[in-house]
Structures are given as structure tokens and as C-alpha cells.
């Protein structure tokens, strides 16, 4: 080797080392005390801001409907910020697109935690996606709050102490819907159509606790991303069911409904909450039909779908929560339809703000986890939260609803149950009113 080569290699290394030290970072601010002033008490928290992050399907198969959730949540945070924030801090909500693709979920979540240094993850959406980052978030000790999915897997306080669910889990939903089918369609033929992951299989677990196995004539699954569901629809049509129960995301509820139309069958449809927002469904049906060169009236096709909800009905203008969220919607995101997704995003944002409020003047990551475990959070929900030291599951139950003229009409009392073999019991708790200025804890 010549002296020149050695010199060249050496110079390259030196240059790289220089470049490296130049972009090396030095962070870490002092830890917060309990003095009077607001301090930078945790990563992502400054004297006047709290930065939180999320992965959301802004594009891809789950985007129709769900892509409204994060903008709606941000709108509610903007409303809080415009009215003084929580304990004097503005909430900065940074959500990145993962296209409902688990690999991208990992990438954007690591970016939010490692680069953007968020205080907490909030509302990370999806079962197949969020399961891939739960270990990372918990080993990094980042609070992983109010996951937008009803998988039972968020409720593991021992293994995942920083993860908290939000929705009633799909087993609870499956049990309530299963009981409805059992009571109203005894001895009739039932078919299932569900997503091929924990979302679908948890739902089916709940259904099977009530619907006798002999009544189920067909069980069909789909993988999100593959839009050809003709084989599954064909198999179900052949079994001639009286009822079809769906645990699907909105795009697949719509695809299945169009498939039924083509196959010439019209069983009663019972659809999980996550796949049944009337406004989203009717829009999807019309746009899918248009792509195929047909024209349908969305609202006619979804008339009579049985579903459930854990949030107040959108059509109930006298409800204080609906009035609050409508006001925020009209001011901050008037271009979005005021539908179930917007309601979901805002209600969830309210619960986060409430937890942040409860975590105290200078919140820490452990502090907000403790605040949630302490319980006692109330809000727009129809049933209480299950949050405690031993449970990180969200809402405890749902109320049945039937879609009539493009809106969900509540049926009977909200019903609560567990995800085991516990009974389903109606509750008659009087609903909580929204605070006068719409901000928790004031």
C-alpha cells in the first residue's frame, strides 16, 4: 500500500469523524420539580407545550373514514389551546401516515419517539399495525395511550404497563352482538365475515359465546389490502344465511354490501361499531359503485344495519357532548363530514386531555400512567372506563343501534360485560354533562 493511499484513507476517516461530531446532539434538560412554575418535567414537555404523537392511516385500505380521526382530535386540541391549554400548556399533536402497513408503523413510531421525542403516543390506530410497536413503546417507557383498536391485547398491565386501550374490546362487542342475534334470530342461519387478524378473531370469540355453533353456516375472512372478496361473498351467498355478522373495517363492510347486491341476497346485517359509521359507509358505497360504473343510493343500502355504539348518537342535538363537538367541528374542521369518525377523534382527545389534567401541573410519563390507573375519568362515553391498576381496557360496554335514514338510532339501555364468561348487564347510570367551556377539569 502506498503512502498516498494511507493518507487518503486517513483523511476520509478524519473528515467523517469531524462531520459526526458536528451533528452529534446534546439534549436532556433538567428534571422537573414541584415548584410553582411550569417546568420541562418530561421528554416532550416544555413550560408551555406537551408534544404527543400518533400513527394513523391517512392513505391505504383503512384510510376511508379513519383518516378523519386524527384531524378531528387535533381540532379539539386546537380548541383547548385557544382557550388556555391544559395547566397552561398547549397540546401539540403530531400524527404520521403509516398507510395501515405494519412496517411503516414501526418506522414512523420510532421517528416520533426517537427523533421528535414525543411525551406519549396517543390513539395509535389499528390492530395489525399497533401490535408491532407495543414492545418498543413499553421498553422505551413511552406512555401508549388510548389505542384506537378494540383488541384485547392492550389490556396486559403486567407485560405492557404503559399501554392503555380505549374502545370496548371486540370480545365485549361480539358478546353483545351475539346475544342480540341469539335473542332475535333463534334457530336461524348465521354467517360470519371478519378480518383475518386479532380484530376479527376477538370479535368471533365473543359471538361464539352466544350464537350456537350449529347455527353458523359459513365463516369467511379477508385480509385488508386485497379488495377481491368475491370468493368469500360467493361462499356466504351459497349458505343462504338469514343474518350476517361482520367484524370489518368500513371499506370491507361496503365491499361486502355491494357483493351481496350482486349475489342477490339480503340477510340482516349486524356490523361491529368500527365498520358501521353510516356517513362513511354511504359515501364509500356510492364511490365504489361509481368506480364500477353503477349508481346506488348509499343510505338505502345501509338501512336496517344493526350495530352498536359506546358514544352518544350523532343525531341527538340535545346531548351536551354532541353540541360541544359540533361547535368545535364547525370552527376548526368544517370541511370534514360530522360523522362517527370525527366524534371518535374528539371524544378520545377529550379523554386524553382529562388524563393530562389529572397527571398534575408538571406531568411525567409515570404520572400520566398513574392518573389513568387511578380511574375516575368520565366523559362522553355511554358506559364507564375499566381503567385501574389491574386493567388497562377501555370502555366496558356498548349500546345497540339500528341504522335508519342514514343515522344510528340507539336501542334499549347501554350494556356492559367483561371479555370472559361474565353476564351482560344493562346499566342505567345517568350520563355526565360536558363542562360549560368544553375543557376538562375547569
Amino acid at each position: 500500500m502506498t503512502a498516498r493511499t494511507i493518507l487518503r484513507v486517513g483523511a476520509t476517516v478524519a473528515a467523517l469523524a469531524l462531520a459526526a461530531s458536528a451533528c452529534g446532539s446534546s439534549d436532556n434538560s433538567g428534571s422537573g420539580g414541584n415548584s410553582g412554575a411550569n417546568t420541562a418535567s418530561a421528554p416532550g414537555v416544555t413550560a408551555d407545550t406537551v408534544t404527543i404523537g400518533s400513527h394513523q392511516p391517512l392513505t391505504g385500505p383503512a384510510a376511508p373514514g379513519y383518516s378523519e380521526i386524527a384531524p378531528a382530535a387535533r381540532a379539539y386540541f386546537d380548541y383547548i389551546n385557544a382557550n388556555g391549554g391544559i395547566n397552561g400548556r398547549k397540546i401539540e399533536y403530531k400524527y404520521l401516515d403509516d398507510a395501515y402497513n405494519p412496517t411503516q408503523t414501526v418506522t414512523v413510531t420510532k421517528q416520533l419517539v426517537l427523533q421528535d421525542k414525543v411525551f406519549a403516543m396517543f390513539s395509535g390506530l389499528g390492530t395489525p399495525t399497533h401490535t408491532k410497536v407495543v414492545d418498543f413503546l413499553n421498553s422505551s417507557r413511552v406512555p401508549d395511550l388510548l389505542v384506537s383498536s378494540g383488541c384485547q391485547c392492550w389490556d396486559q398491565p403486567k407485560e405492557h404497563p404503559y399501554t392503555f386501550g380505549y374502545q370496548p374490546d371486540y370480545v365485549v362487542e361480539g358478546k353483545v352482538l351475539g346475544q342480540y342475534v341469539k335473542l332475535n334470530f333463534a334457530g336461524k342461519k348465521v354467517a360470519y365475515f371478519y378480518q383475518d387478524d386479532d380484530f376479527g378473531s376477538d370479535g368471533v370469540k365473543g359471538l361464539d359465546k352466544y350464537i350456537p355453533g350449529a347455527d353458523v353456516v359459513s365463516r369467511q375472512k379477508y385480509t385488508p389490502g386485497n379488495t377481491d372478496i368475491a370468493p368469500q361473498v360467493g361462499a356466504i351467498a351459497q349458505a343462504k344465511p338469514d343474518v350476517v355478522v361482520l367484524f370489518t373495517i368500513p371499506a370491507y363492510t361496503a365491499l361486502f354490501r355491494l357483493g351481496e347486491l350482486k349475489a342477490g341476497i339480503s340477510p340482516t346485517m349486524v356490523v361491529s361499531n368500527v365498520g358501521s359509521d353510516p356517513i362513511t359507509l354511504s359515501g364509500l358505497l356510492e364511490s365504489f359503485a361509481k368506480q364500477a360504473g353503477a349508481s346506488v343510493k348509499g343510505n338505502d343500502l345501509i338501512e336496517g344495519i344493526v350495530s352498536d355504539s359506546y358514544l352518544p348518537s350523532l343525531g341527538d342535538a340535545s346531548n351536551s357532548w354532541i353540541a360541544l363537538f359540533k361547535k368545535v367541528h364547525d370552527t376548526y374542521v368544517p370541511k370534514l363530514p360530522f360523522d362517527g369518525n370525527v366524534l371518535f377523534g374528539m371524544a378520545q382527545a377529550y379523554t386524553f386531555a382529562q388524563a393530562l389534567q389529572a397527571a398534575g401541573k408538571n406531568p411525567t410519563r409515570q404520572g400520566i400512567v398513574d392518573a389513568l390507573e387511578k380511574g375516575g375519568l368520565t366523559g362522553p362515553g355511554l358506559t364507564p372506563f375499566r381503567f385501574s391498576k389491574d386493567s388497562h381496557a377501555g370502555y366496558t360496554g356498548v349500546q345497540l343501534a339500528v341504522i335508519q335514514k342514514g343515522a344510528g338510532v340507539p336501542q334499549g339501555q347501554p350494556q356492559v360485560t367483561d371479555d370472559g364468561d361474565g353476564a351482560i348487564t344493562p346499566i342505567t347510570a345517568s350520563p355526565v354533562q360536558a363542562p360549560a367551556n368544553g375543557i376538562p377539569g375547569s
Binding site: M1, T2, T5, I6, V9, G10, T12, V13, L16, A17, A20, S21, C23, G24, S25, D27, L58, T59, D97, N101, P102, T103, Q104, V106, T107, K110, Q111, L114, Q115, P128, T131, K132, D135, F136, S139, D196, D197, T223, P224, G225, N226
Partner: protein, 354 residues
């Protein structure tokens, strides 16, 4: 084995001085990576790890496409084989060391590469591209095949248990730096092996076959065997890259190996300079960093969501067009030209070495 023809006998083995030069670069590269990883934050370390495994896959492809002249659109599918092998081994054989798992993934992928290579050696030009394209489309879909879904996790993919850094590095040693070390080490070793291969006999065979198959076979080079070898080497690199991807991201899912990955790797190779190992590294740096830069830019400019989501691809496309029009030899070619310009008129090559 046919007797070695006289024409290329003088360089039977890698020349000692060449080997020493490669070793010097390897040590320098490892040292530079070490200094880089200890001075940047966790997210930068994660990006270094991502760049490293992308560069490994691209380096394998540049040997196949640049040196042996075979176009492959299936590099992403080979990565999938490596990733699923690593994922399954890490899940079912938790106590096996990572090194062993990665070596097994490389071997498994190389075996698949030999199969594909045997078929590919019969095909030329667009037919070869078409066949590898079909491979890239079909293979990741196997994860969702009825009989394999339970083992491979279907469209959701597999969650891989995280291998924490060894305790003797200290309890607070960041996981991302450990991942950057592993990936960086794999990269410099891969580059060393490939560089030696390219300047040795196998490399000459590859180039001979690329330039003129008839002449090469007249000179005693087995065309088919050489082409299969190229596929095996490139698949082995992809297998290692896939294994590292599974290790760094803690998952193996079909979504990570969509067709775009294979296209992007080919673009990386073209941008960097076809056949150039250094070019594969530059190209990978661009591929990984461009989306983050453009996303930051889009956010700072407060662009609307539709533009925001497509900006990285648009910028990448512009870079690709500019490089192909301006520097047909890729970034490495441009760099060499620049060096030559700075040095002034070309001097006759001197034979050095003591």
C-alpha cells in the same frame, strides 16, 4: 473443472496489494462507522442501521446487474426470504446467537437464489426482468397462503422478539446504537468480500460473461455457472439485508417487501453507479435520508396532505432523472470524473507495491 486459460492466469488470485487496500478501507470504514454511531442520537443510529442493510442488498444487486449484466427485479423477494428465516429462528430458537441466525438466513436465501438463478440463466434481457418481477410479486404473497398463514402470520406478518444489546456494554446502552453496530459490521464485511470477489477471478468471469457470452465460453468460462453464481451472491446479500431488517424493525411482514422495494433497490444501484460498491452505499444513503428530509421540508412549508404524501417520491424521481441525464455512470462515476479533473491530465498508471 476446466484448466485455467493462460490469458487470465497472471491474476489468478487477488493481488496482495489489492487485498491490503481493501482491508485498509474496511478498517477505515468500520472506524468511521464506530465514531459516527457514538456521536449521534438514537434516531440517527436507527437511520445508519437502515442505510447499512439497504446498502448490503444494493451491493449484492450491483454485482449481479453491474458486473454480470443480469437485471433482477426480485431483490425485495430475496430480502423477504432472509427476513422470514431470521424472524422464524428468533421466535422459535430464542437462545441461538444472532450471528448464527443471520448466517442461516444467508444460506437459506442463497439456496433460493441458486434455484432462481438456474432458471434465470436460461433467460436474457426483458425475459429475465419479467421472470424476476413475477418472483417479486409472487413470493411475499406466500405469507398469506392458506397452508402457511399460521406459521408466517399472513398479511399481519410476524413480530420478532427484540434482541437487546449485551449487558456488558452497560445497562443504558442504546438499542439503536447496537443495531447500527451490527448492521454496520455486516456492511463492511459484505463490502470487503464483494470487493475481493470483483477484483478476483470470479469477478473477471462475471465481466467476461457480461461483455460477450460467446467469447467468454470460448475462453473456457462456464456461462451458466457464472450467471448462477452471480444470482447466489446477490441473493445471499439480500438474505443478510432482510435478516437485518427483521432484527432492526422487530417484524417480518409482506408490506415490507412490496414490489416498490425491488424497484427502489435497482434505482439505488443506478443512481450510485452500476457495478460500483461505493455507489451502492451513496445510493442507499440517498434512499433512506431523502424521504425524511422531504417530509421535514413539507411540514415546515405546511403543505397539504396530498402533496406531503407524494413529495418524497417526486424528489426521488427528479434525482433519478437528473443523475441519469447528467451522470450516466452514477454518483460514483461523477465522483471519479471530478477527482480526475482536479488531478489534471491523466498520468500513466504506475505499478506500485513493494
Amino acid at each position: 473443472m476446466a484448466p485455467e486459460p493462460d490469458v487470465i492466469a497472471p491474476g489468478r488470485r487477488v493481488r496482495w496489494s489489492t487485498l491490503r487496500r481493501h482491508l485498509a478501507w474496511t478498517v477505515a470504514g468500520a472506524l468511521a462507522l464506530y465514531l459516527l454511531t457514538i456521536s449521534v442520537d438514537q434516531y440517527r443510529n436507527l437511520q445508519i442501521a437502515t442505510i447499512a442493510y439497504t446498502a448490503i442488498a444494493a451491493a449484492g444487486l450491483t454485482v449481479l446487474t453491474g458486473s454480470s449484466g443480469q437485471i433482477s427485479l426480485g431483490q425485495g423477494a430475496f430480502m423477504a426470504v432472509g427476513a422470514y428465516t431470521t424472524a422464524l429462528l428468533l421466535i422459535h430458537r430464542e437462545d441461538w446467537p444472532l450471528g448464527l441466525v443471520l448466517i442461516l438466513s444467508v444460506l437459506a436465501t442463497a439456496a433460493v437464489g441458486a434455484l432462481v438463478g438456474a432458471a434465470a440463466a436460461r433467460l436474457r434481457g426483458p425475459y429475465l426482468a419479467g421472470a424476476t418481477l413475477a418472483f417479486a410479486v409472487g413470493l411475499p404473497a406466500l405469507a398469506d397462503y392458506r397452508g402457511l398463514r399460521d406459521q408466517l402470520g399472513g398479511g399481519n406478518g410476524l413480530t420478532v422478539p427484540t434482541k437487546p444489546p449485551p449487558l456488558r456494554l452497560g445497562e443504558t446502552f442504546p438499542l439503536e446504537r447496537w443495531q447500527a453496530w451490527i448492521c454496520g459490521l455486516c456492511l463492511v464485511i459484505t463490502l470487503l468480500l464483494l470487493a475481493n470477489l470483483q477484483s478476483g477471478r470470479a469477478g473477471r468471469h462475471l465481466r467476461a460473461v457480461r461483455d460477450d457470452e460467446v467469447a467468454a465460453s470460448l475462453a473456457g468460462v462456464s456461462v451458466a455457472r457464472t450467471q448462477i453464481l452471480a444470482f447466489v451472491i446477490s441473493a445471499a446479500c439480500a438474505g443478510l439485508a432482510g435478516g437485518l431488517l427483521a432484527f432492526v424493525n422487530s417484524l417480518a411482514a409482506p408490506g415490507a417487501f412490496q414490489l416498490t422495494v425491488s424497484f427502489q433497490l435497482l434505482a439505488v444501484v443506478v443512481i450510485g453507479g452500476l457495478g460500483s460498491l461505493a455507489g451502492a452505499v451513496y445510493g442507499s444513503i440517498l434512499l433512506v435520508l431523502l424521504p425524511t428530509w422531504s417530509a421535514d421540508l413539507a411540514q415546515r412549508l405546511d403543505l397539504s396532505r396530498n402533496i406531503y404524501a407524494n413529495l418524497p417520491l417526486a424528489i426521488y424521481g427528479v434525482v433519478l432523472v437528473v443523475v441519469i441525464l447528467g451522470f450516466p455512470q452514477g454518483l460514483q462515476g461523477a465522483l471519479l470524473r471530478l477527482v480526475r479533473l482536479l488531478r489534471g491530465p491523466l498520468r500513466p498508471p504506475t505499478i506500485t507495491g513493494r
